[in-house]
């Protein structure tokens, strides 16, 4: 079953200790960290880079990196799961570099059905669509309300970019909309999310204080 964001902080707390120990060279802690987080990070990577062999390589790189960088992790600055997921996402996006054929400079790609099939509306492996996942992720907390505040095209464009690692051009191709339109959807969606989430945090804080 998918994890909902309310678990995010809980899981992070546990990982925080393991990450701190890993930073001190504790191999058992690092093994446990892998045990507790690898299935999540693999899902993140695999969603962006669907080539399984490449995804495995990426995951390997991610944890080698984590082991080396664990010392520099600052629990006061960021949550472990956020930190780990960010590393995994960045590596996964980097691994797409070769696949990204700069579609905006190759308009022919827009008519290339073979290329489009990769991001077809019908998922090849019964994976939930980005929109469905957005719905699941929105099950909890402020993120849900803020996602609801977006227009459907805004929501879809953000979901495609975030979950599938699509570039603006690829999102445009997928949604069959002009690049400029998609860019502004994504931009506005992110701004709206920010305003909404930051507002929620502010409300939480003022509600928490006497």
């Amino acid at each position: 079953m998918a994890t909902v964001p309310s678990d995010w902080s809980e899981r992070s707390k546990e990982l925080s200790v393991l990450l701190a120990r890993s930073g001190l060279g504790d191999r058992q802690a690092f093994a446990r960290l892998y045990e507790r987080s690898s299935a999540h990070l693999f899902a993140v990577v695999l969603r962006i880079n669907r080539d399984r062999a490449q995804a495995e390589d990426v995951l390997q790189e991610v944890y080698v990196n984590v082991w080396r960088a664990a010392k520099s992790f600052d629990a006061a600055q960021s949550q472990p799961l956020t930190w780990l997921t960010s590393i995994a996402r960045n590596r996964a996006i980097d691994s797409l570099r070769r696949r990204q054929a700069e579609p905006q400079t190759q308009p022919a790609n827009l008519n290339d059905d073979e290329d489009r099939n990769v991001y077809d509306d019908v998922p090849d492996d019964n994976a939930p669509t980005p929109l469905e996942m957005l719905g699941r992720a929105s099950d909890a907390r402020a993120l849900a309300r803020c996602m609801d505040g977006l227009t459907p095209p805004q929501r879809q464009s953000v979901a495609l970019a975030f979950y599938d690692g699509l570039s603006h051009a690829e999102v445009a191709e997928h949604m069959r909309e002009p690049l400029g339109t998609v860019k502004s959807w994504v931009r506005r969606a992110l701004l709206a999310l920010k305003a909404c989430l930051d507002g929620a945090v502010a409300r939480e804080r003022s509600a928490g204080s006497p």
């Binding site: 964001p5 996942m133 993120l143 920010k194």
Partner: protein
């Protein structure tokens, strides 16, 4: 560009974290991060905002080989079983052989030639450790006239207290002749006369402390060395 401008930092951070900042622009941005605290702060904020979205992904357990490779990469486990040429034992054995060869040569070189050069025979271990004896080699140097011979172990040989080493002259055909017991730890002078006559090889066998009761080797043959004619 002024990357400390909040609006710009915010926009770039958002695109970077959302994943829409791509290609060379992404790499440029990553290079800028180190020098611009405003960009780092923006990225951190956006990561906090957006990363929980990934919580809705159903976990996918990676295959065990991924962890094995990680362990190898960060040195938790040796890369693989060492190849035969990387095994210490192989080099030890080679070193032993080289030492034996060196000593044999040293004997040849260092011994001043009398009328004729002595004959040197290196006896090599025939098998892996057996009968409580560690493998080693003997050198037998024989005077040119074959009247005298000195045997010497190249490395220390440990023999059980109730066993002794016996030296044999092995003819090309027929039964070996005993040349007597030899010391496992030091030099033994063998005076049997006519050592070289009708002898193709020298052998050392493991025998009872008083030597072979039958006149023929009874224990395992531990070392053998051929006489080159």
């Amino acid at each position: 560009m002024d990357y400390s401008r909040p609006a710009l930092a915010d926009r770039l951070g958002a695109e970077y974290v959302a994943g829409t900042l791509r290609g060379p622009a992404r790499r440029r941005f990553e290079a800028l991060l180190a020098a611009h605290p405003a960009l780092r702060a923006s990225v951190r904020d956006w990561q906090d905002r957006l990363m929980p979205l990934s919580a809705s992904l159903a976990p996918v357990a990676p295959p065990p080989r991924v962890w094995q490779r990680i362990e190898t990469r960060i040195g938790f486990r040796p890369a693989a079983a060492p190849r035969w040429w990387a095994q210490l034992a192989v080099w030890r054995a080679l070193a032993g052989v080289a030492t034996a060869a060196t000593l044999a040569l040293a004997l040849v070189v260092a011994t001043p030639p009398p009328a004729q050069a002595p004959i040197v025979v290196v006896l090599s271990a025939t098998t892996a450790p057996a009968g409580g004896v560690t493998p080693a080699s003997f050198v037998a140097s024989i005077s040119a006239d074959g009247r005298a011979m000195v045997t010497r172990p190249l490395t220390e040989v440990s023999v059980q207290p109730d066993r002794a080493l016996e030296l044999w002259a092995v003819p090309p055909s027929g039964a070996p002749r005993s040349l007597g017991l030899i010391s496992a730890s030091g030099a033994t002078v063998v005076r049997q006369g006519k050592v070289l006559k009708d002898t193709a090889a020298l052998a050392v066998s493991l025998e009872p402390p008083t030597g072979s009761p039958t006149g023929l080797p009874t224990g395992p043959v531990l070392y053998v060395g051929k006489l080159s004619s």
